[in-house]
Amino acid sequence: MFPAAFDYEAPSTLTEALSILKQRGDDAKVMAGGQSLIPLLKLRFAQPQLIVDIARIPGLADIKRDDGHVRIGALARHVDIERSRELAKLLPLMVEAVHWIADPLVRNRGTLVGSVCHADPSGDWGSIMLALNAELVAQSNKGERVIPIDGFFQGPFTTTLRPDEIVTAIRIPVPSGSAGGSYHKLERRVGDFATVAVSVQVELDGRKVKKAGIGLTSVGATNLKAKQAEQALIGHELNDQVIAEAAKLAADAAEPKDDIRGSAAYKKDVVRVFVQRGLKAALARAQEVRA
């Protein structure tokens, strides 16, 4: 399969990339690893006139601590996250979840930021970022703006990013105190999109939940943040009753459709079960961190 013809620019600086987008942003797609974009080009679901390949811009591949956050650059690949000691220590949820993303070969090329900007409702990173309350750093010729992940996804493959902007990094708050997370994914085979997946992160204050994040994959027009379920956890101990109530609220928030991977009712129930399992796993990890 061949993509339709397109112009190709591989700028060597961010300034150059931003000025290209200022002129032709409406007709352009930004590419990092291309692991989501190239399949779309080949199927001709996407036919941009211009590809701006940012892979040759230096300084965008770092994973580093930055003022209470971990900052993950636009060119940091899934495999870089997999091997990051910093993330294994600070946000083990991400390092665990990365094994569920595509396959090892795709992980050698694809990036976190590219995946989030691609905004596939079946994407794994989007719901993990929702659970972790990440924010995106977007640059344009006019300067920088920080976009909270909550509200970033507008619909399938649609975000609030403007055509003249490039997301240069994602910033994730470093949890304080005892914290833990988990990612549960149901897939038909390695590398498949999720039938359903659920991302959970909790931070404890003593025995009570101080912060909670729950993100849902493949059960709506975008990755979803189960806000009512999150709220139901705040200030409570994670006992069976509280967990069951949050799991029910998360299942209520899911808007799955019947498809080849399962019925809507089945998927809602998987959300419920995964939130329960996820919260129990997250609690166990948070308690390990405290011990």
Binding site: G34, I38, P39, K42, A55, D103, L105, V106, N108, G191
Partner: protein, 165 residues
Amino acid sequence: MRVNGVERSADVEPRVLLVDFLRSNLLLTGTHVGCDTTSCGACTVRMDGDPVKSCTVLAVQAEGREIKTVEGLANGAALAPIQVGFHEEHGLQCGFCTPGMMMVTSALLERNPNPTDDDIRWAISGNICRCTGYMNIVKAVKYAAQMQSEAAKAPEHAAVAGGGE
């Protein structure tokens, strides 16, 4: 780009995929096109050392990079350990997935010279064998690992066993 250690260049349209560039422009047909949808791994080559699916890389993205294909494994007539492993353990039936399997596992053995069965199965989880000969593929990789570690212990044989790695 450097392909199997040799500088190669051509003018191509930006939409040309790396796998088509290798096969059609450079006539390196050892790299196979299987599914053409980023699923099967038959087109796996190594790009700056990392195994990648060359049906999902544009040739222009590989500009200036180091590419290694299955043709680059053997050193003249001396097969690389991974090739010997596939031969000795019957790691192939139809052979269609084999170039991809060998490229991905040659990378695994560089990072992890003594992989467990689990490590091997994880490493090849992006590569599909249509004959479902996975048992023998795992054995082939273990054979190659053993061969490499013996070669490392006895440096005088390394020249024979070293292959293109």
